[in-house]
């Protein structure tokens, strides 16, 4: 296997995520992205047990719908030795974790807070808000002018081609929503905590065929943050570190922009990220206890798990409908309920959830979850901690041709 160049394990186990923080998921935060970002970063620092003078790096990503690091750090009295605010949505989280490791490794800073703060429902929606005067210009003349204007509309031809090539069905991928709703029912933070059935998904209205409403994720207002530092510093902090084994950031297909000319279009970027991240971590799929495959849509989870090799090419539909990805299954995916049910912050919350799983501190309805005590009863309103988690894998998605990846373990 091509391990993606001279990367195998050089920084494996040398960095960790030591703090996580999240505001509530809502459709009416009533607050600025500045307030959301500050709360999330502050919560992550408190979680890690870090003072303002112990964080000296900051990274954020957005689509010009956030507040920048200079503002967030200033509000918290943090003087930065390094910061960048990059343009990007999904799959940016894992990429920025890698950049944070690099910045620390070369000595630019010691401890980096990464945040995403967005009013994804009340201010900047994925398909637009309809508040601007429409105009067709630039690259929108390649897609937008033909009525392809949202993420779902942009991804749908790739999903349909997978159905054509492999016989993947709407019913199979509906199981992703069913599984994630089961997980959300045990997550007090989830925006949609109700369990749904395959029939509920198939009977929900069409958005753009082959996507039903319930194949699409929720849009929410939320701020989330993570803190990355070296394993040496991590040992002195409050929480058990989530140790980083491998990371791949914004890996693209042969044509990252207008990707349809290079196929197979049903094969997504994880195909190229898998050898990098598995090569660094030096593990096999069977070693992974929990996955976090980005679920902007039921199909994105499916196609990524397949691209990363959790099943054979074309068998994603079988894999996600087999029960494997549900709590109680062999390798649950998005135990928080993910973007489909918990809320949407462009992937950062999916990494935070895997940190919780590694700590054995999923914040479910078990009375003593903070002490790592769980019932492992996955009935609604119960537990969502996977028993004995040692290794997790996040599969970040931007689009069919761009994705990121992160493998973490318990110390």
């Amino acid at each position: 296997m091509n391990r993606g160049g001279d990367v195998a394990g050089r920084l494996k186990d040398k960095y960790a995520i030591v703090g996580i923080g999240q505001t509530e998921f809502s459709k009416d935060s009533g607050r600025t992205t500045r307030a959301l970002g500050v709360e999330a970063v502050r919560m992550a620092m408190v979680d890690a047990g870090l003072r303002a003078d112990e964080v000296d790096g900051m990274l954020s990503y957005s689509g010009n719908d956030s507040t920048d690091s200079p503002t967030i750090s200033s509000d918290l009295g943090i003087r930065l030795n390094f910061y960048m605010d990059v343009n990007g949505g999904g799959s940016s989280t894992e990429a920025l974790i890698g950049l944070a490791m690099g910045a620390i490794e070369v000595g630019m800073c010691n401890t980096v807070a990464i945040f995403r703060a967005m009013n994804g429902y009340t201010e900047a929606r994925i398909g637009g808000t309809g508040r601007q005067t429409p105009v067709f210009r630039g690259a929108s003349l390649d897609q937008g002018i033909y009525g392809m204007n949202s993420a779902g509309q942009s991804f749908a031809p790739s999903f349909l081609r997978h159905m054509y090539e492999y016989g993947t069905t709407s019913e199979q991928v509906a199981h992703v929503k069913v599984a994630h709703s089961k997980h959300a029912s045990n997550n007090p933070k989830a925006y949609y905590p109700a369990r749904v059935t395959v029939e509920d998904v198939l009977n929900s209205r069409w958005i753009t065929k082959p996507l039903h409403l319930l194949d699409c994720c929720v849009e929410t207002d939320n701020g989330s943050a993570l803190i990355v530092t070296s394993i040496e510093r991590a040992r002195d902090l409050k929480q058990m570190p989530a140790v980083i084994m491998g990371v791949a950031g914004r890996v693209s297909k042969p044509q990252a922009g207008y990707h349809w000319t290079r196929g197979p279009i049903s094969r997504v970027a994880g195909h190229y990220a898998a050898p990098i991240v598995f090569g660094q971590a030096g593990i096999e799929h069977a070693d992974v206890d929990v996955t976090g495959s980005y679920d902007a849509f039921t199909f994105t989870t499916t196609l990524q798990l397949e691209a990363y090799g959790y099943c054979a090419e074309g068998e994603g539909g079988d894999y996600v409908s087999s029960g494997i990805i549900e709590l109680g299954g062999a390798r649950p995916n998005n135990t928080s309920g993910g973007h489909l049910c918990e809320g949407y912050t462009h992937g950062i919350a999916l990494v935070a959830e895997n940190v919780r799983q590694l700590r054995h501190q999923a914040d479910d309805y078990c009375p003593n979850w903070q002490n790592g005590e769980h019932t492992y009863d996955y009935s609604a309103g119960g537990c969502r901690q996977v028993k004995g988690v040692e290794i997790t894998h996040n599969l970040g998605w931007a689009s069919p041709p761009t994705g990121s990846s992160l493998i973490m373990r318990r110390p």
Binding site: G127, G128, G130, P134, V135, F136, R137, G138, A139, L141, D142, Q143, G144, I145, Y146, G147, M148, N149, S150, Q153, A156, P157, S158, L160, R161, M163, Y164, T169, S170, R205, W206, I207, T208, K209, P210, L211, Q255, Y258, W260, T261, R262, G263, P264, I265
Partner: protein, 165 residues
């Protein structure tokens, strides 16, 4: 002023290639950039050749015939220009030229609209993978036009496939 479906089409004055592409369409020709060095066609409009990095290209007229490689049927429109046009298909058309290059999975594929003889969205029941299509042009004004596709009478190479209902 150029416009499409009641929405302004604003082409930057320094985007010469896009002007030329839409001007050719205005004359009823679908033209693609062809690399002067490696002689390969490319789409969409690019400023260098993705196969050999050459910066030089000429326009070459292509047949405008192709096959639906994939599609979607938009039931819930988002863009104001499309609010009155739903349900409407978006098709990914693979042109007959330069198929399976540079690998067997690649080709010249265009995101486009599938319209009927009146220029309205084609009946969504008729849209299928492997259906044969041909280009047509929607007038934008100012001598420009937008390429779109309609179903053709050609015999499909492979069996038609539709999303099961």
């Amino acid at each position: 002023m150029a416009e499409y479906l009641g929405v302004k089409v604003d082409i930057a004055s320094n985007d010469r290639a896009r002007h030329e592409f839409l001007e050719a369409a205005g004359e009823g020709r679908l033209t693609l950039q062809k690399c002067v060095e490696c002689q390969k066609l490319r789409y969409p409009i690019m400023t260098a050749c993705p196969f050999c990095m050459s910066a030089d290209s000429n326009w070459e007229e292509v047949s405008g015939k192709g096959t639906i490689y994939s599609y979607e049927l938009v039931m819930h429109p988002i863009h104001p220009a499309y609010r009155e046009r739903a349900p409407y298909p978006i098709v990914l058309v693979e042109l007959d030229e330069q198929r399976e290059y540079p690998t067997l999975d690649d080709g010249l594929r265009l995101v486009s609209s599938l319209v009927d003889g009146s220029g309205n969205p084609e009946d969504i029941e008729k849209v299928a993978i492997n259906a044969r299509v041909e280009v047509e042009f929607a007038d934008l004004g100012d001598g420009l036009a937008l390429p779109r596709f309609r179903l053709s009478d050609d015999v499909p190479e492979h069996e038609l496939w539709r999303l099961p209902s």
